[in-house]
Amino acid sequence: MTVSHMFRADIRHRLSDRFDLDLPLRTEARVTALFGPSGAGKTSALKLIAGWLKSDTPTYLEGCRIDRDRFGSAVALYLRRVGMVFQDDLLFPHLDAASNASFARRYLAKGDGLSDSDFARLVEKFGASSLMEKPVRALSGGERQRIGLIRALASRPRLLLCDEPVSAIDRASRFQVLETLKAHVEAEGIVMLQITHDPEEILRIAGHVWHIDSGRLIAGGPPERFFGSFGCSERSPWMKM
């Protein structure tokens, strides 16, 4: 009998001679945070899960394997329905904000994509309606991240991978954007994995945390176990031992 987790990936991958990843990742939560020091392998883990880096990482979403089809061959990246929000946003510099935000819409089959009104609502929810006419180079870092989030969500992903998606947004609106994001993934049934360095962000949105260091999963569990339900400690109890 197999237990079907909300999300499961068994990452075993050699990144270089001196660094390999060994991460048996399991979660039952809709939103899971990847926490750990810089260089721990968090971004590489997301890229392996996404299929961005080629590997044979078995990846399961609610019990279904998403990186291989039923004949065992690799599913092409463009068919995986995995959305990614990048640390350095990767907005296409030759398109304006609106074309970036709606980039994925034309590649979705009819019926899969967002309707025009749903798309407009999505843009409005993330406070980006006034940004749509601007060229990408006229956007601030925080504005770029909002467009990046909308762009990923407009591709109707089943799995959303976020690499510090709100790091450039000012602290006052950061949590508002995160709450909006959390509400959206819950309403749409999206599974979300998010890299963050901010314990407060984790406590606000994540139902599960993976603590990763030097390519290893040090601990996993509910955020309260790591950071306490009030106040925040940068360190996990496992680090103190």
């Binding site: 296409f92 510099p93 030759h94 994925a104 590649y107």
Partner: protein
Amino acid sequence: MSLSSIAAALGMTSDDLSALGLSFCVAALASVAVVLTATPLAWYVAKRPNRFSGILIALGSLPLVMPPTVTGYALLVILGRNGLVGRFLERTFGYVLVFHWTGAVLAAAVCSFPLYFLTARAAFAGVEPNFEQAARMMGCREIDVFRRITVPLALPGLTAAFLLGFVRALGDFGATLMVAGNIPGRTQTAAMALYDAAILGEAARARNLAAMLSVVALAALWFAGRTPAARFPDRI
């Protein structure tokens, strides 16, 4: 004032005028042929490097370093009436390339191929692969990645490549002479009319042709130098 009266005022004969016209047509057709053939190859060696890339780049660049007469001679051997391809074309379609303006197009295309190919390859290589990968994750097939991400981002470099190739084709002498000959009014391009004028001691005619070719080349190079990379300075 008609075109021929301007030409007369510049001391140009009707043969010169047709030579200039032929040069432009040959260069335009050759450039189109080069864009169609060299673009996929440039993309392939820039974006899918493998153990064959080195030899492909060498082959694609070869006409750049060969004496144009060698290139022309090679084409003549292959496409001439006794050449392998030439004989086939003549027997099957009754078509003779040599000493015909289509031969000039082919010779000019082969000579300008490396300039377009190498510049386009650099332009494609300069497109950040992360943008392409991000597009794939948003549902783009390879052809859509090429059309909507790679080409638009490489466009300044591709424009420069096209202009370089065009001027090279416009000015080709050696290879065109070998393949198409120098028949006034039929296969004589501007570069060859200039050669005739210089040999015959017609200084004014030679000067005018040289000036015209130089102005076009300078304008194209100036334009090519203006385009690259300047469009997205904040990201690339």
